[in-house]
Amino acid sequence: MKKSLLFSGSAGLALAALALTMPRGDAPAQAAEPVDAVAASAYPERPLFGDTHLHTTNSFDAFGAGNRLSPNEALRFARGEEVMSSSGIPAKLSRPLDFLVIADHSDAIGVTTDLYNTAEADLADPVLKRWRNMLHGDRKEAYAVTREIIASFQSGKIPQDLIRPDRIAAMTRRIWDAQIDSVERYNEPGKFTALHGFEFSLQIKGNSIHRNVIFRDGADKARTVLPFPSQGTKGPEPLWSFMEAYEKASGGRMLAIPHNANLSNGIAFALTGPDGGPLTAEQARRRAAREPVVEVTQFKGDSESHPYLSRNDEFADYGDAGWENGNAPLSQLKKPDMFGGEYAREALKRGLLIEARTGVNPFAFGMIGSTDTHTGLATADEDNFFGKFSNDEPNPDRINTIINPGIAESRIGHQYLAGGLAAVWATANTREAIFDAMMRREVYATTGPRMAVRMFGGWNFAASIFAGDWVKTAYAKGVPMGGNLALGKGAPSFIVQAQKDPMGANLDRVQIVKGWVDAKGAPQEKIYDVVWSAPKQRRLVKGKLTPVGDTVNLATASYTNSIGAPELRTVWRDPDYKTGQKAFYYARVLEIPTPRWTAYDAVRFKMKPPAGAKLKDQERAYTSPIWVR
């Protein structure tokens, strides 16, 4: 058994052989790409869709779960080539992505691969010996190693031999250099952008303080550093120092994207600083400068809103089930007072509160989605869900996977979402243009569908704007999503236009979410339905809009576009605005109901889905806010 498995993991072995024998100091493969080869447009003309959060076999947990795909294969897949998945399924995206960030865990990068390839006799530590043999065992055993490593990291009982600094340093350098070479080879400005990046995955007693770090730069600068580990840190501040030092030394640029705030048990958007005291202006400034964008939707749930916080929002619970039970390993269950520090909408309100007190808003962030795939395959659609880990690649059992074994509140496989995408209003498909769009927050999140959503704020927009070349006018007379609109006369007006995914479902409605701090200093929110399909039939009754309907057929996992609209747009003026009020506004676009990946699985594998599994939902997009300030 053991022997044949050794061979079945040949891709992993081949990779390891590569890593172990790659000579250093050779001229790295580098494409000669003049940066000016791609012309930038005067203003962003169309959204680019990409994934900022992909793990390859180099992430220790991905390898443990059976991922044998290198950065090369991940990049090939994202740009539309067919690759063989780790479980032996040929996979190809029907629509390639426009860009990809490989974001492997900086901590223990490559250690499981290395352990797998070390002979038992060469390991003195009994724990390492056991882990090594488990990695060669069946899928369950191999994956159990991942959890044991995470637990031992958290408890500080990790075998020292595994994280010996010289060993880690050499391995990290080897893997980082090889990754940089791959990313350079596949970066094709104007067509497909591959960005350098890594994930900083700090767990504080199981509470996630995770960041994806993205470089604006090419290999020459990226090579001057190594992915910064979270081990030994107590918060994101050392990461920011690392980023600052990198920029100073290399002249390059970096940004960090927080994610899975929903698994932080309230510490992701805390009102306090690292010392426990109220957040200071300086701390707020530093955070805002480093973290312009938050990833609010991905496989492990959606962090935009929660029904506990948004009692009047009938759509607030999207992607919350299961993930709301506690922190990532469920070592601490959730208490209601934690929600406020976890969900983006509440954080945006907290940002206003802190700004009122200190003059600086630490949570003035834009929103994107991504996948967090650990299979090397960036899939974000319901009908192509490849699973969070390689052992969850399409199979009849994954819907019932116990995600936190041995814990009563465990999440179940069907609670995974099929992943989101980052939509970016860039002026060109290049590293520089994508990075700059993120810095100015001209980005939005989708839960997978490629909807094109525009939003502008200004003081004098009227519906007549749609008669002409309105986008140009809107840029000239207002600010796009992510922008700051200086206080003005009257009430702010917003242009919002949402176009459906040309290959996807029609749209139900567009809503505008407003947040502000009232005269008593209490944060408030209100949701306005501003434009919807079939306006002659559907009316607002006591603030609630008639539902759009439902065409989902679960027997065939299908829907029809006989309801909803292909495009919705309007100019909306805030009817409740009080002169001088500071507020943020963002749009939420809802699709008509469509089958979830669970429904596709049920049909594909001819099985009865478990009770409690959600089988359909309304996918959506969240724009970055516009701040009136």
Partner: protein
Amino acid sequence: MRDYLRAALKEPLVHFLLAGLALFLFFAWRGDSVDPESRTITITEAQVERLAASWAQTWQRPPTQAEIDGLIRDHVKEEVYYREGMRLGLDQDDTIIRRRIRSKMEFLASSELENEEPGDATLQAMLDKNPQVYAADARTSFDQIYLAAQDEAAARTRATQMLAALGTGADWQKLGDAISLPRSPENVDRARIAADFGDDFAAALAGLKPGAWTGPVSSGFGLHLIRIRSVQASTKPKLADVRQRLENDWRAQTVKAREAKAYQALLDSYTIKIAKP
């Protein structure tokens, strides 16, 4: 001659054969004899049935003949590797095994392949074989009139009427329903058209000839009347323009090819007997 030798020494297959020779000598010296019986792999009907049954359990349908053949091939491969592993005493984790695995894995493309640079001739040959893969798409300029199609039959009737009106000189700019899709895309490639209008629309458009108004063509949004203004055919790309892509593909293909070659070298020393039910 010397150059030839140097080139040969760089060839991974030569490494592989040399490693094989070394192993052969080692085992010859150790005195292990090769039992011809252990070089025969027999697949029984029962085994084939088992393979098919386990496949059917996963996929909820019986495998096709081609899929059964694939399962058998895979099983034979596993058996060959397994026996090779046993023959080498792989379970004892000794140095010889580790070297053997290492040489095999090195052969499988890895480090050498990563650092190898394919020559111009190799890449040019790849390009000549599949120029369409690397060519920039044809670029199309067209006008489109959008018709909302919640009620498709009604929309088709309107489309027919509209086509007639266009034939008698109606101003196309004044026809159609409002939507923020580009009305007159200029020199756009197929990927761009697919991203804006959907794959099916892009495919349908590729079949249209320049000239008169035609349609309707369906998209994800509804129906469209189309007038192709011009099509700029794709041109054969120059090596310099697509070099990086060729090199990436060469690397990916060569990994697969070398893996297959390595397996074939082992497989050739076996006699395979298969009985199908």
